[in-house]
Subunit: 205 residues, 3 copies
């Protein structure tokens, strides 16, 4: 039994929209113009899902579906016209990024299960789906990606993806676990970021 | 009815060659050596087509076909041996990039139609095909990609791709519309770049 | 007749492990924390094989197989706990990168032959498999990739990949040629790097 596909679609569209906001706001901050904002919103919002589908070995669905393209365009336009308002919210790029991370981690893991991947692979694929967009955003704006710099970035994505995967192994595909996974990821990510929880660094010479 | 495949192949090879020149000249300017020039020419020339085929969900054709590899190698060698001549032409990287943008936008859109994608997707896929190589060139040389910085970059690619797609919807697959689309894209891109036409930037705090 | 798949698997796992060391040590040097080290080790170790499989048009195998994930995790943990020891070895990132380059060049070329690609394509695909991980490592840490900067990087990868391909054309799929190809690649790369063998640079204005 699988999670209701319509529910996954809604989470995916939401994730696409908030990742689009994260990319679009980063573009506003980097003083890009209207099309730079739209392109960066699109790249950030679609990259994770495209990587997920390429790794599964199925044609990228987000790319063919007009609803994702609409969500991306909406996010880009919101950033262009209301970016100066959203910017006032401190660290809005990070917050929207965290929301997208949680939503994509669970939908990525669910899609991997649906295509028959094992539990470890499904958890990793969920994390890749969540991490991909932000990584590309940072590379395109010439920053070292947050996933490499910040202690609690990959971990919440893996944790969030693990919730629906473990539930699935236990026989339940209730949508509750997808929501719970997303919430776990978002909370861990934002708490870790707020309180600067750092992972240990290796000993140096 | 589809555009003559041989004609599309010719446009694709031309696009590969001029994108190869754009990548190779950027490598010459960055003081890379022979192999750096050849590798950057290859990466820039093949990236757009590979992204296109991955997004469609078909094995990357440009990669398997020796004619594309020959076009790429030729472009790299031209840049190595005659780069100091081509460099004298002001902004030659941008000009070759614009030519490739137009050629790849229409061939990418045509291939998407051929694989049954809808018109909006075909236009976006055409733009991705045109934009991909230059974006990767800039990332590898540590610049913010032109598509994010410059107003008229994504727009001409979308416009150029739209011409054959609209014609196809109207029932005509004449090669004339492919050429017209490429010309529209190249002209809009170069005029916008020459006169520094900028898209509006978002309001800041 | 093909090279023993088990032998190719062993070479691939070894290549994954040493590329993981190269990525993990680069992360240690960039002062990343535990998760940064693990993520960069994983990205560098898996990128080449994923690119290879995407270009062939088959679902990325390295991603689905727990043995690769185990090799990557082991490499990341070694770098985290023993990175300060490995770092004392001068240029250890480059040395592990060279080992991975040789191993992946021959396994990439062998996999391409197995999927029926022609000899030129198999050699190039082998080189792409070897080069991909290091290129991504450098981009993520904001350096111009070594393959663009250093004369003898693409060449040893192409040479190493060519050995099993030529042997295959001559009718032999003995594992000896895979090992020989890897050794050729590693030796040429390290000798060229040690003695700063540079390819010619293009004439400038």
């Amino acid at each position: 039994m699988e999670i209701d596909p319509l529910f996954i679609l809604v989470l995916n569209l939401l994730g696409t929209f908030v990742f689009g906001l994260s990319g679009g706001l980063a573009a506003v901050r980097a003083n890009l113009d209207l099309f730079g904002v739209l392109v960066l919103a699109a790249v950030v919002a679609l990259a994770g899902g495209i990587a997920r589908d390429v790794l599964i070995g199925t044609p990228p669905a987000t790319f063919r579906d007009w609803r994702y393209l609409a969500a991306v365009t909406a996010a880009g336009l919101v950033c262009f016209f209301a970016g100066h308002v959203l910017e006032r919210v401190e660290s809005s790029v990070t917050v929207f990024d965290a929301l997208g991370l949680g939503l994509f981690a669970v939908t990525g893991a669910s899609k991997a299960l649906q295509f028959g991947l094992g539990p470890a692979q499904a958890i990793i694929l969920g994390a890749v789906t969540g991490i991909g967009g932000g990584m590309l955003r940072d590379v395109l704006l010439r920053e070292v990606p947050a996933v490499l710099r910040e202690g609690l970035y990959a971990v919440p994505a893996l944790l969030g993806a693990a919730v629906p995967v473990v539930a699935h192994r236990a026989g339940s595909s209730s949508a509750v676990f997808a929501v719970a996974g997303a919430v776990v990821c978002i909370v861990v990510r934002l708490v870790g970021w707020k309180y600067q929880v750092n992972a240990p660094t290796p000993k140096r010479r």
